[in-house]
């Protein structure tokens, strides 16, 4: 497939705000999405991610701020002039038109003659391997096929930006994984900018060059998938990505780049820091669930070890290649250790057991914000 559009598909949002009546859906956002990248807007429902997408698409007008695509300020322009095409969550295929006429709709609106638009539509359907179904009606296609038709219908407009609103949410698990791969391959092939809204972390991690984690109309972190997953900026991002334990302590002192902290329950932490922390600072840090080791607690415990937390096993969940061990630790919302299954079954622990969970000081990652004991990321905001 040739690159469809040579114009730049860089998207720049400048001080973008959207209010619906009294509610502020998007709060003064600045973001640059590089040309040709796969960007995922990630966040719980109601965080403003879809509103941003719809503003880029031109289906929603910003209350204030600017949107640039390439060189152009596009606020006020219709979608076609922006060079964007949107794929709707439910695909919004026109139920009264055949697959071919759905794909040809854009050309029909532009007054392209019937023969020519059918030829082009057939060509596009060929690309998504649906040419044999071109005379079917949308209702007769499976979810995955409908999605491909929606893709073809969007791509025929020759966009420089493709906007996808929860494109995989209507599919079952198997198809979701398959279409996820196809989307990524398609983006590689076309080389245009994809902006993909999702509330599913693995989807964002798997697809995106750039993940934008949102909460309550604000961007918490915009970075590569690896960065977001490994070194989250805020307690919210750490929790939302679901692979981190967040803890808080007060700095007691520094020595050789190692910070010594005291936690709320008198637990001692050490962080091998690159950061200049000062004594007296309150700091939150995150440790990946799969970097935590668990041991049954010895009866006669000596002096409290460093970077070790004591708790009672709350639940055990076998996940195949690892075992998710939830530990009830006084003073923490949640604490989870993902133990490799081979390791776990050497000395299985059961709910109710007292355990010590420990980690190396190199594994602790200091967060930009102090944890305020924020709520469940899935709670409606």
């Amino acid at each position: 497939m040739q690159a469809l559009n040579s114009e730049s598909g860089e998207i720049r949002l400048v001080n973008l705000t959207k209010k619906f009546g009294e509610t502020v859906a998007v709060k003064d956002i600045n973001l640059t999405i590089p040309h040709g990248s796969y960007c995922c807007l990630l966040g719980p429902s109601g965080c403003g991610k879809t509103t941003i997408l719809r503003m880029i698409a031109g289906h929603e007008t910003p209350s204030s701020g600017e949107i640039f695509i390439g060189e152009n300020m596009v606020v006020g322009l219709p979608p076609v002039q922006r060079g964007t095409a949107m794929m709707f969550q439910s695909y919004a295929l026109f139920p009264h038109l055949s697959i071919r006429d759905n794909v040809a709709f854009y050309l029909k609106m532009r007054g392209v003659a019937k023969e020519e638009r059918r030829r082009q539509a057939d060509e596009m359907l060929e690309r998504v391997q649906l040419a044999h179904l071109r005379d079917r009606m949308p209702a007769q296609l499976s979810g995955g096929q409908q999605q491909r038709v929606a893709l073809a219908r969007s791509l025929i407009t020759n966009p420089r930006v493709l906007l996808l609103d929860e494109p995989l949410s209507a599919l079952d698990e198997f198809l979701r994984l398959q279409m996820r791969g196809e989307l990524k391959a398609l983006q590689n092939e076309l080389g245009i900018t994809f902006v993909h809204v999702t509330h599913t972390q693995p989807e964002a991690i798997a697809l995106a060059d750039m993940v934008v984690v949102m909460d309550n109309g604000r961007i918490d972190q915009a970075a590569s998938a690896r960065e977001i997953f490994n070194t989250p900026a805020t307690p919210y991002v750490a929790r939302f990505m679901g692979a981190q334990n967040v803890m808080t302590g007060t700095v007691q002192g520094m020595s050789n780049g190692v910070a010594f902290l005291k936690g709320a329950q008198g637990v001692s932490f050490e962080i091998a820091g690159k950061r200049d922390l000062k004594a007296g600072d309150t700091v939150s840090f995150a440790v990946r669930r799969d970097r935590i080791a668990t041991h049954r607690r010895a009866k006669a415990s000596g002096p409290q070890p460093v970077n070790a937390i004591v708790g009672r096993i709350d639940a055990i969940e076998y996940q195949g290649n690892f075992v998710k061990v939830s530990i009830d630790v006084p003073g923490l919302d949640s604490f989870v250790a993902n133990v490799p299954d081979a390791e776990y079954f050497v000395e299985p622990i059961k709910p109710g057991d007292e355990v010590t969970a420990s980690w190396n000081r190199e594994q602790a990652h200091v967060l930009d914000e102090v944890d305020t004991g924020s709520s469940d990321p899935y709670a409606a905001s």
Binding site: A57, G58, H59, P78, P79, V80, T84, A85, M86, F88, Q89, S90, A92, F94, P95, H96, L97, F105, Y106, K108, M109, R110, M137, A139, Q140, R153, S154, T157
Partner: protein, 273 residues
């Protein structure tokens, strides 16, 4: 499953009997009229049927003894068609208007719907009195047309609101996204999608108007519509021509319904092929 478990509960038989009685009550009289409209020259108004013939149908259209049936028909049919067209036009455009919430939308909606609960005869009197006051003479194409619209529009509005309310706005957005103008998105996307609903509205408009008696009663002026003509005939015609008339009008109603349903089925089939 063992057959003993498949025995139907006694409620089934009660409900089935009720349903049978209902159907009998619904279609029995109609079928009686249908049969008796083929009565022979004996001119008996009741069973049994003797020497079946078509003379009463002939009589209908050669009004020697009965009323002015062809004349009444020539008013009722165009009236029903005009009411149908206006109902569709107004209901659909109002439906579009109500898709976007505006101030007073609720009040306006209930005002439009409330004419459903005003008794037709009262409305008929009211329209006549108002028309006289304004110096307008009652006619089938004037006052009666208005009276019929007060009856058909609430139904049309309710149907269109239900259909357009369920129509996802993403269809129009998708059309806009693909470069359609507002007019193109209505013409090429929304109207085709809601077309079956528009046929339903048309059907209601036509049949409600074609059958309407109370709202026609005082508003048609000096020339009767068909339901009024039939009513007049029941008081002074004593021949099976009455039945023939009943059969003819019922057949016309059924034809209209069949036409409408047929076109809906045709569209659905085209969509699912």
């Amino acid at each position: 499953m063992p057959s003993s478990l498949e025995r139907r509960p006694w409620t089934f038989y009660v409900l089935a009997t009720l349903m049978a009685l209902f159907v009998l009550f619904l279609y029995g009289p109609m079928i009686s009229v249908l049969i008796l409209s083929f009565q022979g020259t004996s001119a008996s108004l009741s069973f049994p049927l003797r020497d079946p013939s078509l003379i009463w149908f002939d009589e209908l259209f050669n009004p020697t003894r009965v009323g002015d049936v062809p004349g009444a028909f020539s008013r009722s049919l165009p009236l029903a068609v005009i009411v149908m067209v206006l109902t569709v036009l107004i209901s659909v455009t109002a439906g579009f208007g109500f898709r976007r919430r505006f101030g007073g939308a609720g009040a306006l909606f209930y005002m439009a719907i409330s004419s459903l609960i005003i008794p037709g005869l009262v409305l008929s009197i009211g329209i006549l009195v108002t028309a006289q006051f304004l110096g307008i003479s009652a006619s089938w194409y004037g006052t009666a047309l208005g009276a019929h619209l007060t009856w058909t529009l609430p139904f049309g509005l309710l149907i269109m609101f239900a259909i357009l309310g369920r129509l996802s706005p993403s269809y129009e957005e998708a059309a806009f996204d693909l470069g359609a103008s507002r007019w193109q998105s209505i013409k090429d996307v929304v109207v085709p999608i809601v077309f079956p609903g528009m046929i339903a509205v048309a059907l209601f408009g036509f049949t409600l108007s074609y059958d309407e008696f109370p709202r026609s009663w005082l508003t048609v002026g000096t020339k009767n519509t068909l339901p009024l003509e039939i009513w007049t005939m029941t008081t002074n015609v004593t021949s099976p021509a009455l039945y023939a008339l009943g059969t003819t009008t019922t057949v016309i109603s059924f034809l209209v319904i069949a036409l409408a349903l047929g076109s809906i089925i045709l569209i659905q089939r085209r969509r699912s092929k």
